[in-house]
Every structure is written in C-alpha cells, then in structure tokens.
C-alpha cells in the first residue's frame, strides 16, 4: 500500500516535468514555492524533489533492513520446520487422508499471520478457506444440516474474513508468534479448539513452505473419532484401520479419541511452523522488491532533480545575459 502511494507520487513528479522544450515556459508558474534568492532573483525550487528523494531513500533503507531481519529469522525457523516435518507422516500413513469426506459439521481452521507486509500469503489462505466453505456447505455435500464454520489463527485472516463471513466465525486466536512457536503452546491451543468447537471434520488450511520463493496452500483433514469409526466401518478411504489391533484394555473409540487429539496437535504444530516460514519468506521477497522499486524511483527522481537544477541555472543565466545585452543596447 505504501509502495502504491509512492508510485503515484513518482508518476506525478514525472508528469509535472514534461519535455525540455515546453518546460521553460510552463515550469515557472506551474511549480510551487519559488525560492527567494538573496539578490531577489527568482529561481525554480528543487525543494519538493529533494524532499521526495529523502523520503524514498529512507523507505529504501527501512525495507532493506526488514528484508535482512526476515532473512535471519527465516534461517532459524526453517531448521525447526524441517525437523518437525516427520511429525505428521505417521498419522497420514496410518489413517490416510480423506479431503472429500462428506460430513455435516465442517470447521475450517485457517492459519494466517499477525503482521502485514508479507506479500499475498494471507490472501491466498483466505481465498482457499472461502472456497472450502462454499464447497462444504454448498453442493457436493448439500443437505439441511451441512454447516461450515471458521476458526481463525492470526489477525490478518480475521480482518479479511470478518467482512463478509462474520457469522460463520467460531473462534479467533491472535498473537501466535509472540513467543517462538513450541509444541506446548500449540498443544494447549489445540486443546482449546477441540474443547470449544464441535466438529465432524477439521480442515486445516496453511501455506506450506517449499522454498524461499514458493509457498503452496495446503489443506489437512482431521476427522472426529465418530466419523473415523464410521468411515472405517463403511470401508471408506481411511485405510484398513480395523485390521490394527489395539494394545491395552481401551476400546477402539477411546483410542481414536486420543489419537484424534494427538494428531490435531501434531499437525497444528507443523502447520504453524510452515506458515511462519512462508510468512518470513514472503516478507523477504516483498521487502526485496520494495527496496528495488524504491531504488528505481530514486534514480528517476535524481534525474528529475538534476534537470530541474540545471534548468534553473540556465534560466538565471539567460535572464542575466539578456538583461546585460539589453543594457548594452
């Protein structure tokens, strides 16, 4: 947004400095505040352009610094993310994945960031969540009790979704990254969500970090224990869960309950880390293109500044010389 404003200003500067031929006549009345030079001679002001140059240079410095901060934070989080990638694989190996499962109560958990200036990742997550909402509450799965609710983690997602889906938002959580993400915090958060939200299927939407320039929206589905039992009995796509023996005296439903909760907390931990990585990577590239744009703008402004300065010197010289030649007669 800041960059768009700067670009507009830059264009205004360019428009107000047309071709040199027409410039002479047009410029003196067109540009604001004529400087009063000590001899009372009038010269064209370069103050405006100089102010713009100073502010653009500051913006360039700030965005460069933000990029370096994001890069250093990314290094640390990336290591932790890669270490946590093994965590969700056992669950998918055991329980399979059923993204097209047909249930009544869908809850879409969208992970977004709290801070802005991170490119388009939050908009992508929100777009995917909205499409999922339409998918699960409209047809493929139409029915009277089909409903879809949101649980939003992160301020940016809340701001975007609250505009048109305020009624479907069940719960929002912010300040996820105040302390570095660790498993205990996500376990408590997962517990909170599981306790307060009724669901048949939880769909977790986040941006998976593939590389510094590539983040793909990903969706993990977690079924509630009852739905899981139903799917295994109906021979659904959840694999042959029935063929597994349950160690210990617990019944299958108790184990499935514990399994669901554990799966959710593990998957949420990995998803939060991946999203944090994606956010930092997106911020790095956004700030990088900002500083490059600011550099380009600074070059253009420098040219304008020099032209203005030279034109004012030329004008002064012309006035002096024509005055002198008028005196000589």
């Amino acid at each position: 947004m800041a960059m768009a404003a700067l670009r507009r200003e830059g264009r205004r500067i360019l428009l107000s400095t047309p071709s040199p031929a027409a410039a002479m006549a047009a410029r003196s009345p067109a540009v604001s505040q004529p400087e009063i030079a000590p001899h009372g001679a009038r010269s064209i002001s370069t103050q405006v352009v100089r102010n713009r140059m100073k502010s653009v240079k500051n913006i360039q410095k700030i965005t460069k610094a933000m990029k370096m901060v994001a890069a250093s934070k990314l290094r640390a989080v990336q290591i932790r993310t890669e270490n946590s990638r093994g965590l969700w694989q056992p669950f998918t190996a055991l329980l399979g994945d059923a993204p097209s499962v047909d249930v009544n109560k869908n809850v879409i958990v969208a992970i977004t960031s709290d801070k802005g200036l991170c490119g388009g990742i939050n908009s992508t997550s929100v777009k995917v969540s909205k499409a999922l909402h339409k998918l699960t509450s409209a047809f493929m799965y139409s029915g009277p009790e089909k409903e879809s609710k949101y649980v939003i983690l992160g301020e940016k997602g809340k701001v975007q979704l609250i505009r048109d889906s305020r009624k479907s938002i069940e719960m929002t959580v912010s300040e996820l990254q105040k302390n570095p993400i660790n498993y205990t915090q996500t376990a408590v958060l997962a517990d909170d969500i599981l306790k307060n939200v009724e669901f048949d299927a939880l769909r977790l939407v986040f941006n998976k970090f593939h590389s510094v320039i590539s983040f793909k929206p990903t969706m993990t589905t977690i079924l509630s224990p009852e739905v899981m039992e139903k799917e295994t009995e109906s021979g659904g796509k959840v694999g042959d869960l029935d063929s597994y023996e349950i160690e210990g005296g617990e019944t299958k439903s108790e184990i499935l309950q514990n399994l669901t909760e554990f799966q959710f907390s593990c998957v949420l931990y990995n998803a939060a880390l991946e999203n944090a990585c994606s956010e930092l990577g997106a911020r790095m590239s956004a700030m990088d293109s900002s500083s490059r744009n600011a550099g380009d703008m600074l070059d253009r402004l420098t040219l304008t500044y020099n032209r203005t300065r030279q034109a004012s010197i030329t004008t002064e010289l012309i006035e002096i010389i024509s005055g002198a030649s008028a005196l000589e007669g």
């Binding site: 932790r80 694989q89 056992p90 998918t92 929206p217 617990e250 184990i255 514990n258």
Partner: protein, 201 residues
C-alpha cells in the same frame, strides 16, 4: 493451470500402473484427490486446489509376502526426527500395558505409550531413551512409527533431580484439593517414578 493438474494426476496414475511394486494405495490416492479436485473446480475454478498430505508424502511400501528380516522404524519428536527409516532388529516400547517388544512381522497394532524407556536393538547395540507419552503404530509392512512428545537418552537424566521431583509431587498429591490439582500431581508422580525405575532398572 487446471490442465496441468489433470495432466499431473494422469501421469501419476500412469506411473503407478507401470511400477510393479506400487501399492494399492497409490491409484486409490490419485482417485481420492480427483474427487476432491473435481468438486473444487466446480466451486472455485480460478483458484488452484490446495495440496493434501497424501500428495506430499512418500508412499509406503506394500506388505511383503514373507516376513522381512529387519524392522524399519521412524521415531519422531516435535522438534526433530530422532530416527528416520532405520532398519533394526527389535524395538521395545513402553505401552500402557507394559513393555511391548516389536519384531519384524509383528501384527499391525496401535499402542498408546506411557512414560517409560524405549530401547532400540540393532545387532549388539542397544540405545535407550526415556520417552514421555505418545503413540506407536506398527504397520503390516514391518514399519513402526513412534511419535512421542519428548525423549531423552538415559544418560542425560540427573538422578538427584528425579528424587527431588518425586518427593515434591508426592507432597503435592497429598495436599491437593481440587480434582485438577490431584490429576496434575498424579501425573508428576507417575512420570518421576517411571524415571526412577528407568534409572535403576
């Protein structure tokens, strides 16, 4: 973009057909994705469908006909993958019903873990870890996944701190008033006595 998705699905299915060892899982997985992708395209044709975990994971090998000689284990913690795809002879996990030994060809099982010692036997080496709770899955293809919240090698545990913790939590259990406090104190006592047993036993 959608054509690419369809092309990718088709090529994946084709590859699955060609591979002799492809598991029943792979074509089913492609079909599963396509049901979701179809529905997605109807609702949101301009947005690419999100990826799902099955597409991001290596498919697991199928169940072999004969019992294999080695067990492949994956031992993961939230902050790292302690053991990944390692072939071992036996692993003993602390299930809620007691120490459970898993050998190659073990029947597929889901076991919930309690705080205790996990030992991995490879030839003559035995590596022992103290794990807090978690889950252990043994699959039919002799792959065992152990997911735990925390694990430490036994030599990093300080016995004096274990004793101190045990007395502290036993005192708390005695003086606990609400159910929540009692449950927390009981958990503390269980974990510390397991630690004690691990160090001495």
């Amino acid at each position: 973009m959608l054509r690419h998705a369809a092309h990718r699905l088709a090529s994946r299915a084709a590859v699955a057909g060609r591979r002799a060892l492809s598991t029943a899982g792979v074509p089913a997985q492609a079909a599963e994705d396509s049901a979701f992708v179809e529905a997605w395209k109807k609702v949101a044709p301009n947005i690419e469908a999100p990826k799902t975990p099955m597409t991001l994971m290596q498919p697991r090998p199928p169940t072999p006909a004969a019992i294999p000689t080695k067990l492949t284990i994956n031992f993961v913690l939230p902050y790292k993958s302690e053991i990944a795809n390692k072939e071992v002879d036996m692993v003993i996990v602390p299930a809620t019903t007691g120490q459970m030994g898993v050998l190659p060809g073990h029947v597929s099982t889901i076991a919930e873990l309690k705080p205790g010692v996990l030992s991995v036997h490879e030839g003559n080496d035995v590596t022992k870890y103290f794990v807090s709770s978690g889950f252990a899955f043994v699959h039919a293809n002799s792959i065992a996944d152990i997911v735990a919240v925390e694990a430490v090698p036994l030599d990093q545990i300080d016995p004096s701190l274990v004793q101190k913790g045990l007395t502290e939590f036993t005192a708390k259990l005695g003086s606990a008033s609400t159910d929540l406090e009692k449950a927390e104190a009981q958990i503390g006592v269980d974990v510390h006595s397991a630690l004690n047993a691990a160090l001495t036993g």
